[in-house]
Symmetry: C2
């Protein structure tokens, strides 16, 4: 957790996360970088748990990313443990980094009593400093001795870095008449961008799914949630989303097909959890004062629509205009134009806070700047554009670019 | 010109620009937005002058961009006049904007005595406000009455907006034993990015070239100069680079082939002028405190190298680290990783200020942070990376991201 004031966009409190049958957790202060706060998390899952992962697209992946990709592949998507540390990213650390990851998995596998490739890893923190995991040898068994089903707040705290509030979300849903819990935690405040920039998101459920089915659901939901969140367009070396499904409380049935309609309600609920977490990441964007929703309509296709929404969301000039509470739709025009996607200048329409500002390539005759300015002074900014070439749509969430972002990032070595 | 303090990265003075045979100029205060300063420029060229242009890649081009593209096409690259105004971009102004461009060209064609398609236009300023050119009807003849060969400073001032210093560059060179002058002016401080973001650059010479030859030289030189400058990654609706070649003082000879070796020295000199101007744009980046050169080696090819250099140059986290004088090479690793281009993590090398910081995927054993920090405290920051996959190279110039950028852009409606 950061010493900074809590983001003005934060939810009023950490939500009540329900225990997930088959999932236990614990955290300690391992002192990797921070003092007097938990920074090492161990999660244990019952035998038979399956896991799925989505990883950073960075060409410079961190050691724990390499490890977890490989572990998921060799285990066939089985998982018994997750270890996460904050303070050191174990990224760009060469062979030493790979060894530190291996050692961490060894300690966890021994404590839990499982194969090494049933241990998944994630790290967040400073890049390029060798990570000393000597202490993990004593800390991991110590955590294991005190595991509990309901330490969500500790878990969320242990994975945080510059976060100003803890992030969690929970839904309960039925599958075939049986109760399924979906609890998720996440961390991230800077470097949150499409393609999974420095953020960690972990989703836990007792749904009875095959590994392939869980991966299919996770990949699709990630694309509709975390990949639509952007703070500063930067992408980290460590971004990871994991989902774990224990199947606890279910007996024979295992759902293999992500398209099975018995899973529809479950998939909706899991997507809700992930959108909730993704929006919380944006609400903790470094220096953020406003939460911004940017919707593109009328693009060539959905991919083009997302590129346009992202171009607007990541434009420093648009983001500073929002910080200045200026309904500067000219900069929105500029950002649409630079996206590289097809857009018809002479059909372009722009709405700010629901008001039609620009219509068919010109300022709207009915545009009332006072109304737009009043909207810009609120916390939740809504921008919608129709680029007039097709039926592609996409929504992206971002925040404004403020002096706070500069202060945090010109001083903090992340 | 801006009321802001002059950029600390500015050259000590506006350079002495030589008159270019066949070129005259003048400017007045037309009061489009600014008061008490020239904001309307008219340049006149002798009969026989050829012109070439490179325009914004934006899908939302401004009316003067549409006009000039079309005029160059119909005139076959002949030009007798250039009209530029500051304060209103005449962008996203619909049919009214197209009419305003047409009227401006009409007034200039009448004053100079040429065809309308021999008049090129450029505008810079606020987007989306209709541009009232009624006053141009009297101002353009008034300027024309006082044209002179050596009003470079007025010309540079008339095209400026948030610029904190005037930008010009000049070289003299021989073609076939005859003296050729190349004088150039430019404007731009924010939204300067690859693919010609809000910047205007105008190059004037008396070289005896065909229109096609001039266009080939200009296009290639733009790619090696203005397209390697980036301030905040944003791209404007109005970016334009024009070159004009009068052929004055030459008689029979016209060079048709840009590859003619008699033009080698000329091409080098013209590229020098354009690089000089491009670097001046970066030196006036909004809020800039440091001039940053980012060189990529070892990429798959030159295009990939430029994408990597740009990814580093445009990363908010890298730019704020530089503002904070922090030799945070971890963020450089991150930015290389997110570029999407091939890079070998385990061969990656990074130099800061000439010192090898990271070597083959890890911090260098000899890395001395004090030396790196001393370099980061200077005005001119030098970052070099070798991504270890091929022989592509590229250099990009940028500046840091500071509180000044936020202050300027959260308040100014551009």
């Amino acid at each position: 957790m950061s010493d900074l004031p809590v983001s003005p966009l934060a939810p009023s409190q950490f939500p009540g996360l329900l225990p997930v049958p088959g999932v236990e957790m614990g955290a300690v202060a391992a002192g990797l970088k921070y003092q007097g706060r938990p920074d090492l998390l161990l999660m244990e899952f019952k035998a038979g748990t399956v896991a799925a992962g989505v990883f950073t697209q960075s060409k410079m992946p961190a050691a724990p990313v390499d490890w977890s990709k490989s572990a998921l592949a060799t285990s066939g998507g089985r998982a018994r443990a997750l270890v996460v540390n904050a303070g050191n990213a174990n990224a760009f650390t060469g062979e030493k980094g790979a060894k530190a990851a291996l050692k961490t998995a060894e300690y966890a596998a021994k404590a839990v009593g499982c194969a090494q490739d049933e241990v998944l890893l994630a790290s967040t923190g400073v890049i390029g400093e060798p990570m000393d995991v000597t202490g993990f040898k004593k800390y991991i068994p110590r955590i294991h001795a005190g595991l509990s089903a309901n330490l969500w707040r500790d878990a969320a705290k242990a994975i945080s870095t510059t976060d100003t509030f803890l992030k969690g979300a929970c839904r309960v849903v039925d599958i075939g008449g049986k109760r399924v819990v979906i609890s998720g935690i996440a961390k991230g405040s800077g470097m949150i961008a499409p393609d999974m920039a420095t953020m960690l998101g972990f989703i836990f459920t007792n749904a009875p799914l095959s590994a392939g089915c869980l991966q299919a659901i996770l990949s699709k939901a990630t694309d509709k949630s975390f990949n639509n969140a952007t703070v500063d367009s930067d992408t980290s070396t460590n971004d990871t989303v994991f989902a774990f499904a224990t199947g606890a409380a279910f007996h024979d049935e295992i759902y293999e097909d992500a398209e099975d309609e018995n899973l529809d309600a479950f998939k909706r609920a899991m997507l809700e959890v992930m959108i909730d977490l993704a929006q919380q990441l944006v609400r903790d964007g470094e220096g953020a004062q406003k939460f911004v929703t940017i919707t593109t309509l009328g693009a060539e296709n959905d991919t083009a629509a997302r590129a346009i929404s992202r171009s607007v969301a990541n434009s420093p000039l648009v983001k500073t205009a929002i910080a200045g509470e200026d309904a500067n739709w000219g900069r929105i025009v500029m950002a649409i134009g630079k996206s590289g996607e097809e857009a018809n200048r002479d059909k372009l329409c722009i709405w700010i806070g629901g008001q039609l500002v620009a219509h068919k390539g010109m300022v709207s005759a009915k545009y009332d700047e006072a109304t737009a300015s009043a909207h810009m002074r609120t916390r939740e900014i809504d921008i919608k554009v129709d680029v007039g070439v097709g039926s592609g749509t996409a929504t992206v969430w971002t925040c404004d670019l403020t002096h706070g972002y500069i202060s945090i990032n010109a001083d903090y070595r992340s």
